[in-house]
Symmetry: C2
Subunit: 349 residues, 2 copies
């Protein structure tokens, strides 16, 4: 490795004190703006690498926020990330992204890693298979702020940003009922996760309010990947449903494709509603009705809530109380939930 | 903040020397395995937070690899990440993910940030709007290994992992020609980026080999987002094409939807082929022909190449020569490229 350029080299080159160089690189207002700019230009020219690790160690903060995601491959995840980045860029914080790929064990490893990297705060959406919450204890014990979004644990002592999943599940189911469907099957994921538990409650409440008996055999939970979804679909078809409420647009698209291949007309023979408003839903045929879920706003809100907590803590004030924030969601009516027994255009010739 | 548990506290609690505690936490074979396990258990119990920053600072390595991605919202990006994670997990390295959202300015900021965080190496796929390569100079000057994948700059002095984009572009175009299409329009992105430049060269070569004149008006470049793609599509339709080769499955799906809404039958009236083999392509109707691109293998190869360079450097050996590695890609024939003038099933009733 080449010899590293130090602030001593910069001081010598510019004939300034090391204190001035150090202050300028920390963007201190004690150094005139023009001098700061000159020092920065020279630092760049000489290939100076700011020793942020040592500098942050001294200050006991890393100006870095950890983001633990359960997946990254969706419009929702990228929207959340954009929202978080919008806030952290403004506040001049860096983000470290770690993703669990829905695997609880990887989530635990990632959590430990971000803790050891001394992030100033953590934004989390839980993996599907996470069962214990013990891996977050070090954060709580050290008073490092944690904000959960989307996939949360209700009793955790920290702020949570969610949509009203019960209401959204209710709306999706009630819309199918209003369109004349009566035997509504439900494909969802682990009911341990709040989002799926609450949507399921909404489904049951809508049935009850419309005096339709709840049939446990019409509900299947799975990982929502392609293979598992198709297995759930085939099991449910034995129960002769006339509609599906599926808590994920990708899984709904997989089912729609399989049903159409069997010659079943959607809508008409079968109603179908998804969840998330992924772009996919507007590109398949018929276009998928769904629940819109504002990821950007959720990311912004999570980051803002976390930044408030970090700043309060930095100023030595008491930690802010935890907040539960509910972001609005919307029912999007497209083609796949057209009226029962009145098939719209079908993709078959 | 609570008082932090130190190795002194651990030493006292276990009646061992701080040197033993420190060695055990660094997983040194100088401490018996059973003793190491006992010390780790106690460290966990007492909430000891290993000062990795200080410890790595001492060792001048962070055991962290930076991954700079141009986007995360695709099957390809997640596959690459899985491939990288598979190797780094085995090697006990952490990953920091930063993504540019196709924005060159954000790529520059992310590069500087990862440099300042002292990553031991960098895996990069360039953003669409990156023009200068200056932001990578600090890495080259300090001898920190960088590996590019997918979106590369051919003359950069580092290893590159790519597919044969020229061959893939040739195959896609030749397949449309073999199916009887003759006026093939091409929607692609910035020809500054190798992947699009090479696919375009392949498109032209296939036309030349089939003695079809190249018509510059049949080629449009854009960001490949929904809005820009539709604008490019409408411009190209004035040129009366009979097929489209579009270098991204999402953009191809957007065009297919728009064309079908105009009553144009795909295939038959119009042939369509995409690129990337995104899951989307197998869920739309007709199913999209495309080029498969093995993201997992690309991620694994990039990480393996980087790890070799890091290890060679650590052992004080000369830096390995740069390697250019080409990963195989495959033409996937589905429904959207059926023979000209022989429409298959259409999604219209």
């Amino acid at each position: 490795m080449e010899k590293q350029v130090t602030i001593y080299d910069l001081a010598r080159a510019l004939n300034l004190s090391t204190a001035t160089i150090s202050r300028a690189l920390d963007d201190s207002p004690l150094v005139k703006l023009r001098t700061r700019e000159m020092i920065r230009a020279m630092a760049e020219k000489m290939g100076y690498r700011q020793n942020l690790i040592a500098s942050n160690l001294r200050k006991q903060q890393s100006r870095t926020i950890g983001v633990l995601l359960h997946e990254v491959n969706s419009h929702f995840a990228t929207s959340v990330l954009s929202g978080i980045e919008k806030i952290t860029t403004k506040e001049r914080y860096d983000i470290l992204i770690a993703h669990s790929g829905e695997d609880g064990a990887r989530e635990i490893a990632n959590t430990r890693n971000l803790f050891n990297k001394r992030v100033d705060g953590l934004i989390v959406s839980l993996a599907m298979t996470t069962s214990s919450m013990d891996h977050f204890s070090p954060f709580f014990e050290q008073g490092i702020p944690v904000v959960f979004f989307d996939r949360i644990i209700k009793k955790m002592p920290c702020s949570k940003i969610v949509i009203d999943n019960l209401k959204a599940g209710y709306q999706a189911t009630a819309h199918l009922l209003d369109q004349g469907y009566r035997r509504i099957a439900h494909i969802t994921a682990s009911l341990q996760r709040n989002v799926y538990e609450d949507r399921f409650k909404g489904y049951k409440k809508a049935l009850a309010d419309h005096r339709i008996p709840f049939v446990p055999e019409l509900v299947e939970t799975c990982s929502l990947n392609r293979e598992d979804t198709l297995e759930a679909l085939n099991k449910l078809l034995l129960q002769k449903p006339d509609a599906f409420f599926i808590t994920n647009d990708f899984a709904a698209a997989v089912c729609m494709d399989a049903l159409q291949q069997k010659g079943i007309r959607i809508p008409g023979d079968m109603g179908m509603i998804g969840f998330n408003n992924d772009i996919l839903g507007s590109l398949i045929s018929p276009k998928l009705s769904t629940i819109d879920y504002p990821g950007l706003l959720m990311g912004e809100t999570a980051a803002q809530t976390l930044m408030e907590k970090i700043k309060t803590k930095k100023n030595g004030k008491a930690i802010l109380e935890s907040k539960n924030i509910t972001i609005p969601s919307t029912l999007i009516i497209r083609e796949s939930t057209g009226k029962k027994d009145r098939p719209g255009r079908s993709r078959k010739a």
